[in-house]
Symmetry: C2
Subunit: 426 residues, 2 copies
């Protein structure tokens, strides 16, 4: 038996689908060559000699997936949340992001973000950096060493940004992006580049056209923002009068999921046309409920997306969201869905804890391939959670413990973490 | 100089009013005989010889106040939140509360609640127990020993409760209440009895009349629930067709603040008549935003209450709320107010972090007298918070650190705690 086979024992919990949560007390979870071999009530004979890690009654769940987070904003998470999106960007976000022109600043700040992400229950993330290539590569170096699997975007923005942050031209932005992408391919295994036009207001048509060419040349996924805030949506209408709806402003350039995996954050105000287009194009939605509360955006119709069979995952959206924890994102997703049901539309029933868990694991994990579940053949991302601090006493079913963990977890409750079969050091 | 004078040094923060937050880096906070003597930039000469505790750059704030929490529900906090209020009561709450018939069960469960409350940043609380006097006194014994200052209610309910929990009659309920009140007066200094008719649907007119007599005889404050959930409000209309509005169903019995301090939890759907009556009668509102999300009740118009000058504080409402932390209640209060502004009524602007802090300190503290601020003459409730875990780096103003602490605190960040001048043991 090779060393690449390992067995974890504990109270196991994972989703097969939105409505199907599997739990197994004192089960065995087997990893072979970085993939899940299976979950077993009794360990099959053929794994008898394999190293077994017994986690007692701790919970073992798939690693969580953060589909939308801004690394440079981590330093001011939980502050300045008295403004709406566009004012918040101008007052706080852009001045902070501009500091990453300075690589020393990046070397000081990014380790804090990466360390906290590594210690969290998240194993995969789609991350916005800034426009600066050197600082972005400092971030990617750190992420590569962390053992996490991430997609990281050098941000593109060549209009409607302050002079100190705006890229010189579409061509310069594109040129730097190409060089960065080439460099990434040489340097990183676990850290992939993802195209990152900030959002429609930040990108000229010429830049969008350039990005499409780069996407096709290098086969790159893409992340951006969509239909987050009413003022933003009005602005996009002014900027792109020819677009049928906000998402169409991306789709006109082929940057809305048609050729490569694409994840759009927020979709708070996506209408039926936009929902249909996302479905046709296979666009992923990063639902960021805390951010949508904090920046006073509103509540996305997640149930509607799920009814349509759209791909939905969760995003912390630090620093629109204060908390890097995807468990916290699950809590806010449930709470926001209840308020939306009560205050906006009683036809869309709230999310359950099991459904929010699905979104934070397999739902978002699909953006990374077979990730976010313990079904055979899935990449072996697992985290071990000690809920004894909140157990009081330990007599509950796994689903109940999971629900409680969503509301009451703390960072230090994560006791072990595996990404693609490899255990991360604490 | 007597031992009852102490000085704390650190980064101090407290509210004078809703709109007025005072901060002082490296300030001196002086306690004399259990009361605040003052906050000083430089320590006055007359305190030169007094024992000084230097907390460095830790935050020193008034103790937090929880105006509404159910001790027996603590054991299932963060679970079973897939139902609305009335179903949730019948399925989970009543069966659990019934277990407190057994004093052994109370002796096993209540210490967990009291220990966690003691370790939290809360120094004062209004607490619901159950209908059972022996179990309620077990809880009160524990609270008395904790050093916290609390008001605790033996619950009254003589109708619309399951047989196994419903009190036999209004007379029996009243009789037991009187004996309990007498007993409390002998046994406790820091732990006061508070009349606790569960809510209108649980109490017959005869019981309400009895409770009014008991209130007048013993001068007791009162806590209950008000206008939380639409189905509940409809039910009260059916039960009390003569009442002009929900609050009037209490007021008809003189149990709505006219003679004694009264705190009503929720007020999600209080209309203008109810708001006016609360103002006339000086009723306190315990705003419980997390519970109102979790049980799908809605969002209370807190800004409207504040515009009217009503007394408003925060409640964790465990287990409708999952988290005992009043910092978490502040976070949810801000977030809920933003969603209400966006989705319901843009004339009521959202709460700021400083305003939420006021609600969780001085706003609710007023129910206990001069509590919740560091103005001279206030009872000396103080907590010391270490935010270095989230400081990254420590270059922010105190208000920014406070805002961040609201979103990102953990239980163990509370480093020291004083109640009425006495330091609690960790």
């Amino acid at each position: 038996m090779e060393q690449s086979t390992i067995v974890l024992k504990g109270d196991i919990c994972y989703s097969k689908s939105l409505g199907e949560l599997t739990t197994l007390e004192q089960g065995f979870l087997v990893c072979e060559d970085g993939l899940v071999a299976g979950v077993y009530e009794r360990l099959p004979e053929r794994f008898a000699g394999v190293p077994l890690q017994d986690f007692g009654h701790q919970l073992i769940i798939p690693g969580l997936v953060d589909l939308h987070v801004h690394a440079p904003q981590y330093s001011y998470r939980g502050m300045h949340m008295d403004l709406e999106l566009l004012d918040w960007l101008n007052h706080y976000t852009f001045p902070e992001e501009a500091k990453y022109t300075d690589t020393d600043y990046a070397r000081k700040r990014y380790p804090v973000f990466v360390d906290d992400l590594r210690r969290s229950a998240t194993t995969r993330a789609c991350i916005f950096a800034t426009v600066h290539v050197p600082a972005t590569e400092i971030l990617m170096d750190l992420l590569e060493r962390s053992g996490l699997r991430t997609m990281v975007g050098k941000v593109n923005m060549d209009r409607n940004a302050p002079d100190y942050l705006c890229e010189e031209s579409a061509e310069v932005s594109a040129q730097e992006t190409v060089e960065w992408v080439k460099d990434c391919r040489k340097r990183y295994r676990n850290t992939k580049p993802i195209l990152t036009p900030r959002f429609t207001p930040s990108c000229t048509d010429a830049l969008m056209e350039n990005l499409k060419m780069i996407q096709m040349r290098y086969g790159l996924p893409l992340q951006s923002h969509l239909s987050e805030n009413l003022s933003e949506i009005e602005w996009v209408k002014e900027l792109c009068p020819q677009a049928e709806f906000y998402g169409d402003a991306y789709d006109r350039f082929g940057l809305f999921g048609v050729d490569c995996p694409t994840v759009m954050a927020h979709c708070v105000y996506s209408d039926e046309r936009e929902i249909r287009r996302m479905k046709e194009n296979g666009v992923f939605i990063a639902h960021c409920p805390e951010s949508n509360m904090n920046v006073s955006s509103g509540i996305a119709p997640v149930r509607r997306f799920l009814e349509e069979g759209l791909h939905v995952g969760l995003g912390s959206d630090v620093a629109g969201g204060a908390d890097l924890s995807i468990f916290t994102a699950m809590m806010h997703a449930i709470q926001a869905s209840k308020l939306r049901w009560r205050l906006v539309d009683e036809s869309l029933r709230p999310l359950s804890a099991a459904e929010a868990f699905y979104l934070g694991t397999k739902g978002g994990g699909a953006f990374f391939g077979k990730v976010g579940s313990f079904e055979p053949g899935y990449e072996f991302d697992a985290v071990v959670l000690d809920d004894s601090r909140i157990a009081d006493p330990r007599e509950y079913k796994i689903l109940d413990r999971l629900e409680r963990f969503i509301y009451l977890h703390q960072e230090q409750d994560v006791k072990a973490k595996y990404v693609a079969g490899r255990e991360l050091q604490k």
